[in-house]
Structure formats: C-alpha cells, structure tokens
C-alpha cells in the first residue's frame, strides 16, 4: 500500500517536471510532436528506472559502508552517463528514425537534472530497494505524462492564433506554468 502511494505521488504530486521543475530542457525541447515526446518520455523512464536501481546499489553497498557519501554526486553522474550512452547506442541500432527525432536531447538526458535529482532524492530519503525502484518508475511515468500532455497541447497550439511576440518558447513556457499550477491541485492528496 505504501509502495502504491509512493508510485502515485511520484507521478502526480511530486511530478519531476511540474513540481520540482527538473528536466525542463527536454520537456520544452522534445514536446513539439506527440510521438517523439512519448518516445522521449519512455527513454527517460527507462534511464530513471535503471538509474534508481544502480544508484541504490552503489549507495547502499559501497558508499554507505565505506562512509564515502560525498562521492554520491560523482558516482551517480558516472552511472547516468554510462546508461545514457547505452540507451543512445541501443536506440540508434534499433530505431534510427527515433534516434533522429530525439536528436540532441537524447545525449542531453545525461545532464538532465531530473535523473540526477532522482538519484539524489532517493539517496536522501533512505529508500529501500523496492521503494527506490517504484520511485524511479513512477518519476519516469510522471515525466512521460507531463511531456505527453505538453506535446498534445503544443500540437493544438500550432493551430491557435498566438500573439506574435509569444510564439514558440514564450507560449510554451506559459503553458508549462499553467500546467504546473493545475498539478498543484494534487498536492496534499497523499502524505508521505
């Protein structure tokens, strides 16, 4: 039950994009088309899940026993960077069109603060293994949800009569702000 609460909280309440404002770069960069947004979301979810597992293992089995917690940041970066490289190679091999569509944002997952944030938050909150995994999956799905919603809105926005100075990034940021505002409606639903 507690895991379910954590899962829903990671998706809706403590949404990485709309609550923590982490990972805004791909959120704005790849949210122009629905299908590439979905793929980006799935790629991030995958990286987040594996990152949660790996960083939990490194943190619990290496960093804490040897009392070298200050290596958290650098070792997590190592995990994330390697994983993203792996995902990039995999996508390039399996789906070149997707590789093209994600473009520069795929290697940019490496420096995506959402993933770093996930690893650090999970470590700070002393999550157990399953909690960390659920937190990782939930956060990934939360990111996917946010970016897919955003892409859906932006596809409609292309047809809308947007004032000239607000076209492009301006209106996207306003929409993101309104979405974040809407998501605050979920806050307080679950107390963790």
């Amino acid at each position: 039950m507690e895991l379910l609460a954590l899962f829903i909280s990671a998706i809706l309440i403590n949404n990485f994009v709309l609550y923590y404002f982490l990972g805004i770069c791909p959120f704005l960069g790849v949210s122009k088309k629905l299908d590439s947004a979905l793929s980006m979301g799935l790629a991030v979810t995958f990286v987040m899940t594996i990152t949660a597992v790996m960083s939990w293992m490194i943190n619990t089995w290496i960093l804490i026993p040897y009392n070298i917690g200050y290596l958290q940041t650098v070792s997590f970066i190592l995990v994330i960077a390697s994983l993203v490289q792996l995902v990039e190679m995999f996508i390039r091999k399996m789906s070149p069109p997707l590789y093209q569509a994600l473009g520069i944002y795929l290697p940019l997952i490496t420096t995506n603060c959402a993933i770093m944030g996930l690893a650090l938050l999970a470590a700070r909150k002393d999550y157990g293994f399953f909690e960390a995994v659920v937190f990782g999956i939930g956060s990934g799905i939360g990111f996917t949800l946010a970016i897919v919603l955003m892409a859906g809105i932006r596809e409609q926005l292309d047809l809308a009569d947007v004032p000239e100075p607000l076209k492009g990034a301006g209106i996207a940021l306003i929409v993101a702000g309104i979405m974040a505002l809407a998501f605050t409606g979920f806050s307080g639903m679950i107390k963790l």
Partner: protein
C-alpha cells in the same frame, strides 16, 4: 591511507562501466554507409543550409539515400557536384549558377533623402521608422546584407548601394533574408535583364522620390508585350529566356533606367582585400 577507498571505488566503478560500454558498443555498432562520410568530405562544410538541409552532413546523408540530387549544393557549384556524383557513380547535372541581385538603383544621388537618420545603423532598425529615403521600398544602404554574407560577396558601394560580386556569390540566400525590404532575388547568372525597382508607388509619387524608380510608363511592356507586364505600378518580367534579344534596345529605352541589362565593372575582391591588408 583513507584516500585509497574513494579512489579505488571510483576506479573500479569507472572500469566496470567503461567495460560495459565497450561491450555494448561492439554489439550495437551501427554500420554506416561509408559513402556518407566521403560525400560529406567533398562538401564545402559551410553548413549554410542553402541546399535546404540542416547542414553539410545532413545533405550528404540525403544524397546517399537518393533524397537529394548530387548537384544540390549551390555553394560548391559544378566542381563539388562532379565530385559527389563521382562518389555515387552517377552523372552530374550542371548546377544552374544563381547570384543575388539587388532590385534597387536608388543611389545617394538618385533617391530623395528623408532627412538625417542618426539611429542604429542597420537596415532593420532604419526600416522600422520608415527608412532614410523618401522611397519606402528602396535600399537604405546600411549593409545588413554585407554583414549577412558569409562569402565576402557583397560590399557597400560608394553610391550607397551594395555591390554583389558574382564570383563569390553562392546564392545561399542569406542576403535575401537579411534585407528588411526584400530587395534581393536569387536569379540565374545568365539572366541579364532585370527590373531594378520594387516601388509600388504610383507614377507621380515615384517620379518625385527617385530618379531611377519604375514610373510605370509602360514603355518596356509595349516593347515586349509577351513577357513584360505592368503590375501594381511596376514592370514585371515573366520569363527572361523568352525575351527576343532584338527587343532589348527598345526595352532599354526606359526613361529612368529602371529596367535593363546588368552592367557592373568587375572588381577583384581578393586583390582589394589584400591591398587593404597591406596598407593596414
């Protein structure tokens, strides 16, 4: 020895991950068509986007896949087209060389000034307040096109109008975008008859504003009624190739020299540049 543990930890972790990546790289390696790299190397690497792709590399991929023609690079011209065609094993078509042409002859002497402009010296800024000439269609002469040109093909002339050097012009279209009054057009180099005016003002107005404006008298249209038409107080050439050369003298009777053949003394840009450098 307390530093050993963190150092070893990081070393072991790095080793593990890099080994993993090496294995993954071997397994997931993508075989790329070596032609793409070869074509890419033959291209000028200006990454100007004149071919319609996002850069030379993207164009190379498109050419190899057959989505673009081997002569699609206007910057490289015939030489590059031949090289690319050679790599692909197909015959090259010839590139129709185009150059940017300015549709204005409103020199400092010819066009009436609107007053002293002391604002930001760019055409874009000047255009916002209506420009420095009374003619609201003509060249303002602050050289946004000169700045936009990556190939040293445009220089500001002494008469206040930019000069395009045919040899350097690659028809990349940067000047077309840079000109706030849309005075440039990319035209085939062999086209030798143009309308040197974009003014849509009526004859009475344009006659007052500029000595070289098209005053819509229609002399040229009467000389060649098949290919030259008057639209919105401006002569328009439909197809220069179909203009009978014998009619050209009659067309050039234009009282304001607003239509005619391209005449420009060729200046060797490089010599001039070198001379300037030597003096500096």
């Amino acid at each position: 020895m307390s530093f050993l543990i963190p150092v070893l930890t990081m070393a072991v972790l790095s080793l593990l991950f890099s080994t993993g990546l090496v294995v993954a790289y071997k397994k997931l390696k993508v075989e790329e068509d070596p032609k793409i790299e070869a074509v890419n190397e033959a291209l000028p690497q200006a990454n100007c986007g004149a071919c319609g792709f996002s850069g030379c590399r993207a164009f190379a991929e498109a050419v190899v896949k057959g989505k673009a023609d081997s002569n699609g690079c206007p910057v490289g011209g015939n030489d590059v087209a031949a090289e690319v065609a050679d790599i692909l094993g197909v015959s090259a078509g010839t590139v129709l060389k185009r150059v940017a042409r300015l549709h204005c002859r409103g020199t400092k002497e010819a066009a009436a000034s609107r007053g002293l402009y002391l604002g930001v010296t760019t055409c874009a800024a000047s255009h916002l307040i209506g420009g420095n000439k009374q003619c609201s269609y003509g060249c303002m002469g602050y050289g946004d096109c000169v700045l936009a040109c990556q190939f040293n093909a445009i220089e500001m002339g002494e008469d206040g109008l930019p000069v395009v050097f045919e040899e350097n012009c690659t028809a990349c279209g940067k000047c077309v975008d840079a000109c706030p009054r849309n005075l440039y057009e990319l035209l085939p180099i062999e086209q030798n008859i143009f309308v040197y005016c974009r003014s849509l003002d009526g004859p009475k107005v344009s006659r007052k504003l500029c000595k070289n404006a098209c005053i819509a008298c229609g002399i040229c249209a009467r000389a060649c009624p098949e290919q030259i038409f008057m639209e919105n107080n401006l002569a328009v050439i439909h197809d220069y190739k179909k203009i009978d050369p014998e009619k050209i003298p009659a067309i050039e009777k234009c009282p304001t020299n607003a239509i005619g053949r391209f005449k420009i003394e060729k200046i060797d840009m490089n010599d001039e540049k070198e001379a300037a450098r030597d003096e500096g």
